[in-house]
Amino acid sequence: MSVEASTERVTGSNAAADDQLTIYERSQPGRRAFVAPATDVPERPLDELLSPELRRAEGPRLPEVAEPEIVRHYNRLSKRNFDLDTGFYPLGSCTMKHNPKLHERLAALPGHARLHPLQHPARAQGALELMWRLQDALAEISGLPHVSLQPSAGSHGELAGVLLTRAYHEDHGESRTKVLTPDTAHGTNPATVTMAGYEVVKVGTDANGNVDIEDLRAKATDDVACLMLTNPSTLGLFEPQIDEIARIVHGVGATLYYDGANLNAIMGICRPGDMGFDIVHFNLHKSFTQPHGGGGPGAGPIAVSERIEPYLPRPQVVRRDPAGAGANGGSGADRAPVYDLDFDRPRSIGRLRGFQGNYGVFVRSYAYIRSLGAAGLRDVSETAVLNANYLLARLRELGVLKLLPAAYDRVCMHEFVLSGGPMKRELQIRTLDLAKRLLDHGVHPPTVYFPLLVDEALLVEPTETETKETLDRFAEIVAAVLAEAREDPAVARGAPYTTPVRRLDEAGAARRPVIRQAL
């Protein structure tokens, strides 16, 4: 460490060069954290067991580091992350709600965490019952009777949903080629459509931010297999004409798919099934609180109507009454029921993945539902919507909406979209600059530049677990950044300043990708 480096510290830069080493750069030949258990069996020459032709010449060049330095390395790395347990994280569409600590304890219980996925169902009754009860609760919440927990995340649930639509139509002797998605749809929707072998047809949005009913009517032809809809939409708006939309879609024999990413707005208030949706996916890692893990894991269970049920993925978790007759859905009344995996589903689309899905995720979401109950879940949605509208009101009160107007001036649901267009014109700072400047204030920026149809979009989702004080503080921070930009836009354009690194060269990274350590 040179004198310069140290005087640099007087100015408060916290970047210790040492913090930027990778674990490979901390490696020294001969160091180790792992000690192998004693070889308690005959030490036959390896060549006799695996001939040299089958073997690699050199082992993988993994790091050589003792436990203390591995711990420090990843501990230091962790401090270069912003996290939900430290500050406000209003990342729109992602429902960054608090993750109850209880859930981690429960998921770690050996009976859950150390259960082998191929354990015989008779010896996994606790796990199967938990899954069955979760299915039951999700069916009630969505208003659709049949649930598969198998999909690994929302987009995986979407894929399952579109494949179910295909199977349904084929089974009815139809082959359709198109799937409708609103122009506000999340990217996974069109990507899913293509992956499932359909053509995407975009449906427009009207002046109020709702699905353009006329455009929908025009595009809802009899070669349309499905409409994928998010309601509330990614604009944070509830479709008031949802009944009409359902009528149109069903009118041409298409299925209506519900992207459940925004379910957090309506739990216990209304149900997709009652709106006429045939298929719903849940993002358990959003509405039903999973730690987001830096990008997973999650789970994307789906709920479907009777007519879609025969095609659900294999296997299904079922409850068999003592008599032995298979039974799924329904309440938990019977005596000593037995839970099982049903593979005998001739019309099933088959498997989407291995084993029974992300069980560890199910444990957490089931615990959440048990903790809150019906009243609690409704309180969640009410508070999520209250917080969003309150934050919007505070921003208006502070004059922020003059520069960052709401994309649609309506009561919002659990999130809302602002447009940075006026700010860009008047203050010469972009939504990106605002976002980066927020980092210096210790809050995570909202989702930016999505939905695409809003100019310089800022999608704000506070969630129900934030306090009024936090919302007030955020509103004041945004106002402060705008005031600062009015005085000197360069500050925001140069932001952030206090983060572990500042703006990064993303273009360069993509031009000459360095995606692994040179060893």
Partner: protein, 456 residues
Amino acid sequence: MTRYTSATDADRAEMLAAIGVSSIEELFADVPVSLRLRDGLSLDEGLSEQEVHAELRALAERNVSCDDEISFLGAGMYDHYVPALVDSIISRSEFLTPYTPYQPEVSQGGLQAMFEYQTAICELTGLPVSNASVYEGPSAVAAAGYIAKHTNGRRRFVVSRGVHPHAREALATLARAWEMEVVEAPLEDGLTALPELDDTVSAVVVAQPNFLGAVEDLAALAGAAHDAGALCIAACDPLPLALLRTPGECGVDIAVGEGQTLGNRLDYGGPSFGFFATTEALIRRIPGRIAGETVDVDGRRGFVLTLQTREQHIRREKATSNICTAQALNALAGVIYLSWLGRRGIVELAELLVRRTDYARRTLTALDGVDAIHEQPVVREFAVALDAPVDAVIARCLAAGINPGYPLAGEGYENGLLIALTEQRTREHIDRLAEVLGEAVAAERDADRSHAGVSG
């Protein structure tokens, strides 16, 4: 108000006033009255933390976990020891609670970990490109198939029976939507026997080691695929790769696999992660997140999500995959685990597996009525055929506190049993298995005979 929300009645009143409405109801004005739930959801009432803990603990107690029996179950997930430092690191809120690193300036920890993970996967597979994780093993095979479909637009997948049945099924599920055909290649004496490959073959899909535990001649299989102008996709068990010729060296185009064994729990099948590695040629078709190294405006080293033009949030219907949320935390556990094993440790561990497996295989096949299904070299798992009804034999072993493995009837080996080893199954456990299995087979054979006697 719940214990996770903070809006007191006083707060609500103030907030509603600020909004300018008189009730929460008004905020839901857009919801058609006909759709509003009148009596709320019919779910049980909420419980205190302690009650929820008691209930889920009771459910856990009704599962027989690897803590409760000596288990030789494998067949895709394996009971390896997860070092304590993995749990202690991944449970730090800074890794546990953020989402995908959309704001790299405050996500360097997660991004650098992805970069380190990608490097480790490249080292394991011998391929130059790895993404930051996909969901898990079987769906990774399907995702690899999607690349093949786009790369050469051909009509058929040739899939070895040595590929995990769940992976074969996951690929078939999508192939149907792609109007592609799946042709299965049989195993002969434990190894994949490829059919004639013609120019309709998009990809040849194999496993290393395969489902019966046998080490395949990956180079030969990849060669055959390439001769037909097809891609070679290999589903690999990562720990054996510490010893085996790498997929990259063998000419495999896409190596995928189940990452559970790398520092992740069994969790009754998930969450774990899938790894996905490929060649430079396919870099712009790979699904999912990729972290790349770059510099900031001050010239400081940093990491970002890169090559995003592949992804759904940019390319939408033209994306190479629809994946968004993946398995970042599980992949983090993976790279921490691999760093814990280290360059020497991973080889020592793999060699221990080979020796314990060899010992188990010799000991068990020496038993009366227990025969090898194949004689191929194995690393951590092997298949035997029992001269007795496998389910009855398993039942007897379970009664003795031993779970002897996975029955292979579903794979067409009527009384076949797939037996997996990990460093947690000691010689003592193996000897006990031999004792119990031997007795069980003997007992069931007699039972069979007498039964035959009766019925005959």
